[in-house]
């Protein structure tokens, strides 16, 4: 029986999904707060950081191709380390799901249902998350292959129609809040590209190392283009610091674009994109949660476990009192959990694994042989 691989197109879309989820909500405002008028430079800076990290990790990963990150943990520190790392991943995905669910529910409440209770809005997302994950990963990833291109198209249409409002003079001062500020505080925004490290977890679905590098590069490049175009539009249309108030920067842009007189309510495109991306991102995040838990606990009662996890996410998402609290938690989680777990941990683990390989070659060969037999 042939091994089942996911198409490159679908997996790239799955990864871009992570970037779009931030882009469609608060990413432009975060960039603007850090870099002021120099959002484009910040975007280029994070792009270079992400590319460097991709280059380093792919070099380190070369000798372990085909083995998932969790198995590499097992190679380094046995089952104990494996379970510890999986638990951290589980916690990261879980908290990200909780906070994003609340953030998106709040956003939809503000934009569409101002009198509806937030708990009612969240239910729709939770139901979709649970049912989709019960259905399986294949469907989620194939769905991203359809949703992401449509959402990108909506965003591009929105931005193209705002071109007449753009003014290059609004980009001055060109260094924004200052080079030092951008280089230090801005580095945390590498989180916009966090999805490429997931490749090392789902690697068994990718045909070869070359493809993995190509997927990573294409993902980072497309994400960079999307982020740059959006922050450029936001900064060049709304004068700094006024643009810091645009929580839904893309929404404001879509309202502005008007799409000429033929399509008066053009913000509907934004609403559609927001709904599509929110659903697919939450479903993907929840897949991360269920994948981590199923790596620890092998059971046939997936339906019950997924339902319980879904309900827990729903309950926890209602704990923050308001959206500002959600932003604070998100910033905290990003700095102290997401970045260490998604960027620093894989790099460190791969580095240690390579050192161990150099020290004890026979154990490495035995491990590789064992893993390839298992697959």
């Amino acid at each position: 029986m042939n091994k089942k691989y996911i198409s490159n197109f679908s997996i790239i879309c799955f990864l871009i999904n992570f970037t779009l989820s931030n882009l469609i909500l608060s990413l432009p405002i975060v960039y603007s707060k850090i870099a002021g008028t120099a959002t484009v430079f910040l975007s280029i800076y994070t792009f270079i950081l992400a590319l460097t990290l991709l280059f380093i990790t792919s070099k380190l990963y070369k000798k372990f191709y085909g083995i998932g990150l969790f198995d590499i943990c097992e190679y380094i520190g046995g089952k104990v380390l494996k379970y510890i790392i999986i638990s951290f991943y589980f916690l990261t995905f879980f908290l990200m799901s909780v906070l994003y669910l609340r953030e998106v529910s709040e956003s939809i409440k503000i934009l569409l249902f101002d009198t509806t209770p937030i708990i009612y809005i969240s239910i729709f997302f939770i139901v979709a998350m649970i049912i989709s994950n019960i259905s399986g990963f294949d469907g989620i990833i194939r769905l991203c292959g359809y949703i992401v291109p449509i959402s990108i198209l909506f965003i591009i249409i929105t931005i193209v129609f705002t071109i007449p409002y753009m003014g290059l003079m609004r980009l001055y001062p060109i260094a924004g809040t200052g080079i030092f500020e951008i280089l230090t505080n801005g580095s945390t925004q590498i989180v916009s590209y966090l999805a490429f490290t997931l490749l090392y977890i789902f690697v068994k679905h990718i045909k070869e190392q070359k493809t993995l590098n190509r997927i990573g590069f294409i993902y980072i490049l497309i994400s960079f283009i999307l982020i740059t175009v959006t922050v450029f539009a936001n900064t060049s249309i709304y004068i700094y610091p006024y643009n810091n108030n645009n929580f839904f920067a893309l929404y404001e842009l879509s309202k502005l674009s008007g799409l000429t007189s033929f399509f008066i309510r053009s913000e509907i495109l934004y609403i559609f994109a927001l709904l599509l991306i929110s659903f697919s991102f939450l479903i993907s995040l929840f897949y991360g949660v269920t994948y981590s838990i199923s790596s620890i606990v092998k059971t046939n009662k997936n339906v019950i476990i997924y339902t319980i996890l879904g309900i827990l996410i729903y309950i926890f998402s209602n704990i923050p009192k308001n959206i500002i609290e959600v932003f604070n938690y998100t910033e905290f989680i990003n700095n102290y959990l997401v970045i260490p777990i998604t960027f620093i941990t894989p790099t460190l683990l791969l580095l240690i694994a390579n050192i161990k390989r150099l020290i004890n070659r026979s154990e490495y060969e035995k491990f590789i042989a064992c893993k390839s037999n298992n697959s």
Binding site: I108, S132, R142, L143
Partner: protein
């Protein structure tokens, strides 16, 4: 109760007889068959007894056949007449061979000893000949080929395509297929389905194109069906589909041989069922349901235009009422101001909430549609007009529903007719109600929630090992060549990638050789 027990015992005995062999005593055989066929009641089952003389020895004989299924002329001319007309004197040959070689003049004779086989053959119109002292029976092919002549497809009309459709006879359908494919690699593998009905069924594929795994998968499913009677291909469709609970059709059913030929040439497998004018094609993806044979007969620009229209039609048919409800009930800010005022002015005078209005109209439409199908043709069209006038004009005049809603429902109804696949149109009709309820509950959020779950379920489905909602890059090596859009025939050089065909290229890179010389492509 006693009677029931007697009957049960009788049928148990008959079942034993069926699974035995014939004896050399003709009377035993005659009595047994009379009992099996209940000859005192079944008047169309003919037992004709006669005597033949071979080398001056007289042998009692009889033939058995069904009057309605067998060709009487053929029986008279090729069996009865040569046997009783004269005395046969043959040397150096035994009676067994003498019958087939010297007496019966029919071209197609088989010999068998199994009662079960004999019954199967008689049931489909063959004639069985029994001769005293012989422990074998001769099966002579005397089937009457009475069926509807090959005619236009009734439900799949094409303007520029072929005007030939399948009929109820499996032989005619096989002939049509062979004529269209004209390839020695076309394999038509015959099977029997149905413990009692023994319905003939043929699995067709082009052996050096179709993926052996798919072919094996289909054969496996067909072999493992355990059912008493299989009456047509629609029943088989339900028996072999992988997700019986799904609303979406997983198998294409068509009455057009050109469509079958086109799919077989891509590496798919067809299933022909006796007595059914519809042939099944597997595997099928979601996007295949939007394709029609007409697409490939038109210029590619025209085909793309109608495919685009079909997609819009499907979208309207599924979501238009839901979007209308979502906009007017929950997201009025997204409606242009002028339009919003006119909708609000009309809705103000109406007694029911919008959801009730739309459900009334949709249910009435379904009612008219169902009644129109059951009515005789001549009345059916007038029912449509009456329905339209009654429901449309009268409900508006009575201030029960708004004219805007009538327009929405009318566009939805017209759109549903534009969906090329009947089963898909059906599933859309059912799902439309679900989307209406979701839209009424939570506007676009509800619609998108339903849509995402719906799409994920579709995307997770596989049919015969192939993803049902196949992704863009897996559909064709050159994406968009024949999925949603259609490329010109001379640029469409690859078979769909997901079918994993043995021969992946269907035409040369330069199908128009002269273009290569000019360097036009």
């Amino acid at each position: 109760m006693n009677e029931r027990l007697k009957l049960k015992k009788k049928y148990k005995n008959i079942n034993k007889m069926i699974h035995s062999n014939i004896s050399s005593n003709i009377n035993n055989n005659l009595n047994m068959l009379k009992e099996i066929y209940t000859s005192n009641l079944n008047t169309d089952c003919i037992f004709r007894e006669f005597v033949i003389t071979v080398n001056n020895i007289k042998y009692n004989s009889f033939i058995i056949f069904f009057e309605a299924l067998s060709d009487s002329d053929s029986i008279n001319q090729h069996i009865i007449k040569p046997m009783i007309e004269k005395e046969h004197s043959i040397s150096n040959i035994d009676l067994k061979n003498c019958i087939t070689e010297n007496i019966i003049t029919h071209r197609n004779i088989e010999e068998t000893q199994s009662i079960h086989d004999i019954l199967l053959k008689i049931n489909i119109g063959n004639c069985a000949l029994f001769i005293d002292t012989l422990d074998i029976c001769y099966i002579i092919d005397t089937k009457k080929n009475e069926h509807r002549t090959v005619s236009k497809p009734i439900n799949e009309v094409a303007i520029k395509g072929s005007h030939v459709g399948f009929v109820e006879s499996i032989q005619s359908n096989v002939g049509l297929l062979r004529k269209f494919i004209n390839d020695e690699n076309l394999v038509l593998d015959k099977y029997k389905i149905g413990k009692r009905s023994n319905t003939a069924c043929i699995i067709g594929y082009i052996q050096n194109i179709a993926d052996p795994l798919i072919v094996e998968n289909v054969k496996n499913k067909i072999k493992n069906i355990s059912i008493d009677y299989l009456l047509n291909s629609a029943q088989l469709e339900q028996l072999i589909e992988e997700h019986p609970l799904s609303l979406a059709p997983e198998i294409i059913s068509t009455e057009r041989p050109d469509k079958i030929a086109s799919h077989l040439s891509e590496g798919r497998v067809c299933i022909i069922v006796d007595n059914s004018p519809y042939v099944l094609i597997v595997p099928c993806t979601f996007w295949d349901l939007f394709h029609t044979p007409e697409d490939y007969n038109l210029k590619f620009q025209h085909s793309n235009f109608i495919r685009f229209i079909r997609l819009i039609a499907m979208f309207c048919s599924l979501l238009l009422p839901a979007i209308y409800i979502a906009l007017t009930n929950h997201h009025v800010a997204l409606i242009p101001t002028d339009l919003l005022f006119s909708i609000a002015a009309i809705e103000e005078t109406l007694p029911f909430p919008l959801i009730i209005e739309i459900l009334i109209m949709e249910l009435s439409l379904e009612l008219i549609r169902e009644a129109g199908i059951r009515m005789p043709n001549s009345i059916g069209s007038s029912l449509g007009i009456v329905g339209a006038v009654l429901l449309g004009q009268a409900t508006v005049d009575a201030h029960l529903v708004s004219p805007m809603l009538i327009l929405v429902v009318a566009i939805t109804a017209i759109s549903s007719f534009a969906t090329p696949n009947y089963s898909l149109a059906f599933s859309i009709r059912i799902l439309r109600f679900l989307y209406i309820l979701l839209a009424a509950t939570m506007g676009f959020l509800g619609v998108f929630c339903g849509g995402i779950i719906h799409l994920i379920i579709l995307a997770n489905m596989t049919t015969f090992g192939i993803p049902y909602f196949v992704s863009f890059d897996k559909y064709n090596k050159q994406p968009f060549r024949d999925m949603i859009t259609l490329a010109p025939i001379w640029l469409n050089s690859f078979r769909p990638a997901f079918l994993n065909s043995l021969d992946k290229i269907k035409s040369a890179k330069y199908a128009r050789k002269w273009d290569k010389k000019k360097g036009n492509i």
